[in-house]
Amino acid sequence: MLRSIIRYSSALVPGVLVKETKLRSLSDILKLSSNLRQLSLSAPRYEDEKKRRPRRDKVFKEETPVSREVQEAAVQAAKSLPGDWTKTAEELLARLQTKDAESAREPVGDEPRSLLSTMKIGRAFEPGRDSERRRGGRKGQNNQKDDSFFSQSIVQKAAVDKKIFKERRHTSEFKDLYGVPRLGIFETKKEAEVAHDDSRPEAAEDLWAKVEKEHVRRLQGGLPRNAFEEMIRLTEQGKVWTFPVDNEADLHEERKYKFHDHVFLERHLGEFPKVGPIRKFMELVTLGLSQNPWLSVPEKIEHISWFAQYFKEKQDILKSTLGEQGEMKNAAKGSEQS
């Protein structure tokens, strides 16, 4: 039961939560575990980091081996719990080794402080931390673990230092965005004087610029977020009239014809007799058509030719009743019969 509680709570809080009644004699472990519990509030991130950056952890593990006191305390705690004590001891030690260096160095013998003072809210990542961790801690802080640090072999420490130095040489050079001097190819004074204007108008009309613009628009991949944006897209596709509404939108056919093509339609009456009732009728037809704003010129001409066709069919009746005035001529369009 206890083991399941430990496992269950350690899934969320990788510290050791043990029943108090059993551990009054091991006050060290209790305080250590309470400190661990406080630490583990940001645990998930460390778990992730562990998975993603095993290399760093290896370096870290070399530097801070667990001190003898803690080892003994862990073994005692493990022995007091039911089950295989060697396994529990290993688990405890593993947890201790992977915790943060600074917090682990919190003096073990102190009073358990309040949650707030040990918890790190906000900026959990400090840029100098990596290098500090490698060097083994801040200079001048009271290190409870000094003995363990110095117990490391000198060779190991030198190896770690070399690594730090190499990495710092590469990354620390380029911390400043403006740190590296310029290439010195362009003359700055000259560039500043010359005006901007020449390149812009060409760029706007260039096919490259247009295609690039559409490509970027597509990469951005935004759907219209409101009705106005939808209408903008439809307008650009040409499916919706532009605002303000243009009277002459979609009138490209009509632009070919001027007003005199609409009004002076008499020249299309070449096929009809020059005098008589048919002529009168057709003049009235042309009068009506010239006042009609809805038909296009070809449509008007079509009207007239329909009449011509009709009268030609009824030619025999017309000739018999009207005589010369009923005779349709086979003249070409626009020609005046003499």
């Binding site: 760093r56 840029p127 362009f186 390149s199 690039e212 970027v216 991949g221 307008t235």
Partner: protein, 525 residues
């Protein structure tokens, strides 16, 4: 003289765009609201395929869709395949060029040449331009929805993009047949070849231009710079190439623009792991500043990618990133180049991968919310990646109130977290005792079937049962508990019931006990 959409754009600018609302096209029907990424993709793909099917039907059975009105259809509704000029002549060629029908333009050109008719220099140059822009193939049309759903193509940033320019294709044919090889014709060829990563062609054309002392414009120089890194062995080769071209520019008094430096930096981005890349890119950046060119998002994207590529495992320091954020603070951007689109998504990815610091992430988010910068993050994948990284970084480190403010802004319609993120939120709630937010989470979780997963359900009920709360919160939690039980009892015998077992019921009992509601607790038992 206003553009046709000026008024609409002015009206659109008055509308708030950062409201947590469903996708506009689905706003009329609540059934179509889409929340999780998967659902969004499915819904919009269905929308799109419906439209395509309709077009297909129109094409298959045109007789059933006859037009019954007298006026001719406006061009937008007409099918594109009708041309005014069908006979081979120069006007026909120009028409096909303006309509961007590449293959048919090539055919028309070949017919005209074989007929022996003369073509003006202008038409030939226009044809050449068309061919190099589209690499002698018809352009692929992608609709709005397609571009929202599909991931953008980042092939240009791979280290050694393959050459897609075919030798002796139509463009070269047209170029060779040009009566007078003007500078602009050469420039077009260079730009086309560079867009298809054909470095030898670019160099041979450029040398020809230099030999004939032709003026080269700035866009062509930019194109030449883009291929600098191909077929090189070290950064020094690239450096030499770039510096030579820049010196040529300076010698010919061609003013560089931002794109010049971006093109140069893109090469370094492709080879960001090679030594010397970082130093050179910062040198280029200083040069750019010295020329008085204001760096935009694209420039910073290149620099940041070189320094903080998120698959790179070595250690990084955030000073450079912080400087970049400081520079960009309080500026509004619009999307001008394809690199701008990547900015927010990549930088958030970098923050999440290298220094998961919530303060940096929140600064970036602030930049996103300034003015119209939100437009830069409109692609579905970019949004999803950005917000999931943002939440992963922020939840463990910030107070629950901050997290839930951000949550309310975005969930459920703009971004929907996955179950891991929800578990993190639950942990954060337990730590900061923000149980008043659990009901909000429960409402949002109804959009998904996450409760069908036993781990998740037990985790959730554990949060419900954790401790005794004040009356109001406790009542809410009890209501959630009862509704979960209702859901289970209703579907108890069906196969897709909630996986309720001892642990879950135990937690629910505890919840009710916390509310001093013995009756319900006993009934659960």
């Amino acid at each position: 003289n206003r553009s046709p959409t000026a008024i609409l754009e002015a009206l659109a600018s008055t509308v708030r765009n950062d409201v947590n609302q469903p996708i506009y096209s689905t706003i009329d029907d609540p059934f179509l609201y889409s929340t999780t990424d998967r659902v969004k993709k499915a819904h919009l793909a269905a929308y799109e395929s419906g439209r395509k099917t309709a077009e297909h039907m129109l094409a298959l059975y045109p007789d059933y869709f006859t037009q019954i009105w007298d006026d001719p259809l406006p061009d937008a509704w007409k099918k594109d395949s009708e041309y005014i000029y069908a006979e081979p002549c120069e006007d026909a060629l120009n028409e096909r060029i303006t309509k961007r029908k590449v293959v048919e333009a090539i055919d028309m050109y070949r017919t005209i040449i074989s007929n022996g008719e003369p073509l003006s220099q202008e038409s030939q140059e226009k044809l050449l331009e068309l061919l190099v822009v589209f690499n002698c193939k018809d352009p692929v049309e992608e609709t709005d929805i397609g571009s929202y759903i599909n991931a953008p193509d980042y092939r240009a940033f791979s280290p050694f993009p393959p050459c897609t320019w075919q030798k002796a294709n139509a463009a070269e044919e047209v170029f060779d047949a040009l009566p007078e090889k003007t500078a602009s014709a050469y420039c077009q060829m260079i730009r086309g070849m560079s867009a298809n990563y054909h470095k030898e062609g670019v160099l041979s054309m450029y040398n020809a231009m230099k030999a004939n002392k032709m003026p080269v414009d700035v866009e062509t120089y930019n194109a030449i710079l883009k291929v600098a890194s191909l077929d090189t062995e070290t950064i020094d080769d690239v450096k030499l190439f770039v510096e030579t071209i820049l010196k040529d520019m300076a010698a010919n008094n061609v003013k560089p623009n931002e794109k010049t430096f971006i093109s140069a930096m893109v090469n370094l981005r492709r080879l960001s792991r090679w030594s010397g890349a970082k130093k050179f890119v910062l040198a280029l950046f200083s040069e750019m500043k010295a020329c008085g060119i204001e760096p935009g998002l694209s420039t910073y994207v290149q620099i940041l990618h070189i320094f903080y590529y998120f698959k790179d495992r070595s250690s990084k320091t955030p000073e450079l990133l912080e400087q970049v954020l400081d520079d960009l603070k309080g500026k509004e951007f619009e999307c001008k180049t394809e690199n701008d689109v990547q900015f927010f998504r990549s930088v958030m990815g970098m923050i999440a991968a290298h220094f998961p610091d919530s303060k940096l992430a929140l600064r970036l988010h602030e930049l996103l919310q300034y003015g119209k910068n939100r437009d830069l993050l409109s692609n579905r994948q970019a949004q999803y990646g950005y917000y999931s990284d943002l939440f992963t970084v922020i939840i463990p480190l910030e107070h629950i109130d901050v997290v839930m403010d951000l949550y309310k802004e975005v969930v459920p319609y703009i971004f929907f977290p996955n179950s891991e993120t929800f578990k993190l939120i639950l942990e954060s709630i337990e730590m900061h005792e923000g149980h008043q937010y659990v009901s909000q989470l429960y409402t949002d979780l109804q959009w998904t079937s996450m409760f069908k997963d036993f781990d998740f359900l037990s985790r959730f009920t554990q949060t419900l049962a954790e401790r005794k709360h004040e009356a109001k919160t406790q009542n809410e939690l009890c209501m959630i508990a009862s509704s979960l039980m209702d859901q289970w009892t209703r579907k108890q015998h069906l196969h897709d019931a909630l996986p309720v077992n001892g642990v879950v019921i135990g937690n629910l009992i505890k919840t009710h006990l916390n509310n001093d509601d013995l009756k319900t607790a006993w009934s659960l038992f």
